[in-house]
């Protein structure tokens, strides 16, 4: 089981990456043999911008895209900027080829400066992943500053565990039964019409 977390946290000590690490802890606790890596989009900011201009990924960005495409499941964590995810986060997903995430199990999480942003997962992130046709698990985890200080009950950890449980269940189950397929279909109607033109009247 290979799980990749994508963190769009932009500051150096990032609570967004910290939240991604909580997912890693929960995954390792549940599946000691699973691999878990965090990709930090900040490190790829220039490459992502270049890709939006020239339409192809630099080798460094392509390496990360290949990692994401090959993962069995993704954890996607974004900070909240102006009531949504940062532009860099969207630009990363813009740089992916169409349909590459089809059927991929995904857990969404977000951080924000105030709990009032907590619907960012459902109002901003979910529609994007609906478009990408990922298998997005129901539990999204939003962490406001308050959540990091609520020691004792560890409500945040409990929510992360619930999301990870869902993610593993989907990843280890059948998923949507649909995955990205990049083979050339020689037998589509259009392809067949090349060597077998419509009969002439």
């Amino acid at each position: 089981m290979r799980i990749v977390a994508i963190s769009a946290g932009l500051s150096d000590s990032s609570s967004t990456t910290l939240l991604a690490q909580r997912y890693g802890d929960a995954i390792r606790a549940a599946r000691p043999d699973a691999s878990f890596e965090i990709v930090t989009l900040r490190d790829l900011a220039h490459d992502i911008t270049d890709a939006t201009i020239v339409g192809f990924a630099s080798p460094r960005l392509q390496h990360v895209i290949d990692q994401v495409a090959a993962a069995d499941a993704l954890v996607v964590v974004a900070p909240t900027f102006k009531a949504s995810y940062p532009g860099l986060f969207k630009s990363f997903f813009d740089a992916l080829e169409a349909e590459v995430l089809t059927g991929k199990p995904v857990a969404l999480a977000a951080t924000g400066g105030t709990a009032r942003h907590s619907l960012v997962i459902d109002y901003a992130m979910r529609p994007l992943f609906a478009y990408l046709q990922t298998m997005t698990v129901p539990t999204g985890v939003f962490a406001s500053p308050h959540d990091w200080g609520d020691a004792g009950a560890d409500a945040l950890g409990a929510r992360v565990e619930r999301a990870v449980g869902e993610l593993l269940s989907v990843a280890e189950g059948g998923g949507t039964g649909r995955a990205f397929d990049d083979s050339i279909d020689l037998f589509s109607e259009t392809m067949l019409s090349i060597s077998d033109p419509r009969p002439q009247v």
């Binding site: 911008t49 270049d50 201009i53 020239v54 339409g55 192809f56 630099s58 080798p59 080829e97 169409a98 990049d182 083979s183 050339i184 020689l186 037998f187 259009t190 392809m191 067949l192 019409s193 090349i194 060597s195 077998d196 033109p197 419509r198 002439q200 009247v201």
Partner: protein, 412 residues
């Protein structure tokens, strides 16, 4: 005799010069294009190809007019396109315009078909852009018949039917212009080129080579599948671009402002990253030769190499200097490519060679009367299966040709 052809292809953009701030007029750009084409012949290039566009900032909306004008002022250079829009032009007009050009320049022409990349062109010409692939296939199937059959009865989805129609003039010597198909992401276009035994061109400019390798390999395999020869015998053309000076550092210094402001990749990656990641060379003539030679390593030995030189607002004077430098290394390029070329890789297509070939085989003007593939190019094996026959075979488990493609990265 030309084993491999080298030439220029131009987009025909009117782009401000980012260094001196001037912008050529349309008149200047059109006249400069002619000057560049004549220079291309002077330095010994084999091909000059112009794009086709129907919106500013581009000027070449009428390629056959420009090519005929150039043809009248040149002796040897092959006139071509990069690309002719098979989607939004009427195939009847294409058949007539390019056959007329073929007569005027005594066969010294061919053309490259493409879909174009400007979405509003489709509605401007009365077509639906979401049907681009279907338009490409139907229009090309009709164009082929208009050239290969003297009288055509035809009905399709996209054009008014034809009954008892003869496209005039008939192709010179009964041999239609050679056709290249340009595409960088559409397997159907590679399939179309393979089925008819036409050439396949990858523009090889804006993206890393990996984006082009897959479709060229697919085309080569399908070319063999349809009985035109081995995969190595398929007819492949590639684009490329360079900016060279005797001194590598001078090239980088002079080209950087043009690169940084270029319409396609400007304000994006650095010149250094882009040259490392794509076929662009900015450096010395020797660096340019070395990088160009690697193309054959990646794509197989090929027939036509076209370069984009007049772009990004470069002054015409600089473009002509670039061509002088290209002319100096051209003999080296030719010799090096010839030295590495294995026996059996076909020469680049010319009208004379194709007329000679047609003389050996079936009459070229009547190739498709039976509705099969052109008999003049058919391999000894004889009949080529239709799509539906192939489908049946595949379902029986023959599973040919696609296996080695499955693990490569898609680039749609």
């Amino acid at each position: 005799m030309t084993t491999m052809q080298f030439g220029l292809f131009t987009v025909g953009d009117v782009t401000p010069d980012p260094v001196d701030g001037t912008t050529p007029s349309e008149h200047e750009r059109i006249k400069n294009t002619v000057a560049i084409a004549k220079k291309a012949e002077e330095i010994g290039l084999d091909v000059f190809a112009t794009g086709e566009h129907h919106n500013p900032p581009f000027v070449p909306s009428s390629p056959t007019t420009t090519l005929a004008y150039i043809g009248a002022q040149t002796e040897k250079i092959i006139l071509s396109t990069s690309t002719t829009l098979i989607t939004t032009n009427d195939p009847v007009k294409l058949a007539e315009d390019y056959a007329t050009l073929q007569h005027l320049v005594d066969g010294r022409m061919d053309l490259m078909l493409g879909r174009g990349n400007t979405a509003p062109v489709y509605p401007w010409f009365g077509y639906d852009g979401s049907k681009a692939v279907e338009l490409t296939i139907e229009h090309y199937q009709l164009l082929r018949r208009l050239w290969d059959e003297d009288v055509v009865n035809w009905e399709g989805q996209f054009r008014t039917p034809l009954q008892g129609f003869t496209a005039t003039p008939r192709p010179l010597d009964g041999v239609a212009p050679f056709v290249w198909h340009g595409s960088i992401r559409t397997p159907e276009v590679a399939e179309l080129a393979a089925y008819y035994g036409d050439g396949y061109f990858a523009n090889n400019i804006f993206w890393p080579k990996e984006h082009y390798i897959r479709l060229i390999n697919f085309y080569r395999q399908r070319y063999a599948h349809y009985g035109h020869g081995s995969p190595e015998q398929a007819i492949v053309g590639l684009g490329g671009q360079f900016f060279i000076r005797k001194n590598s550092q001078d090239a980088v210094r002079e080209f950087r402002p043009y690169f940084d402001n270029a319409p396609v990749y400007g304000h994006g990656p650095s010149l250094e990253d882009f040259t490392a990641q794509t076929p662009l060379t900015v450096g010395s003539p020797q660096e340019f030769v070395e990088k160009t030679l690697t193309f054959a390593d990646y794509f197989g030995d090929y027939q036509r190499q076209l370069f984009l030189v007049d772009h990004a607002g470069l002054p015409t004077k600089v473009v002509l200097e670039q061509l002088d430098l290209l002319g100096e290394v051209l003999p080296t390029l030719r010799a090096e490519f010839d030295a590495r070329r294995p026996a059996g890789v076909p020469d680049a297509p010319t009208h004379a060679a194709r007329v000679a070939l047609a003389g050996e085989g079936a009459p070229a003007g009547r190739q498709r009367e039976e509705g099969g593939v052109p008999t003049g190019r058919q391999a000894e094996g004889g009949s080529v299966p239709t799509g539906r026959q192939r489908e049946e075979r595949a379902r029986e488990g023959a599973g040919e040709t696609t296996g080695s493609l499955d693990h490569e990265r898609v680039t749609r």
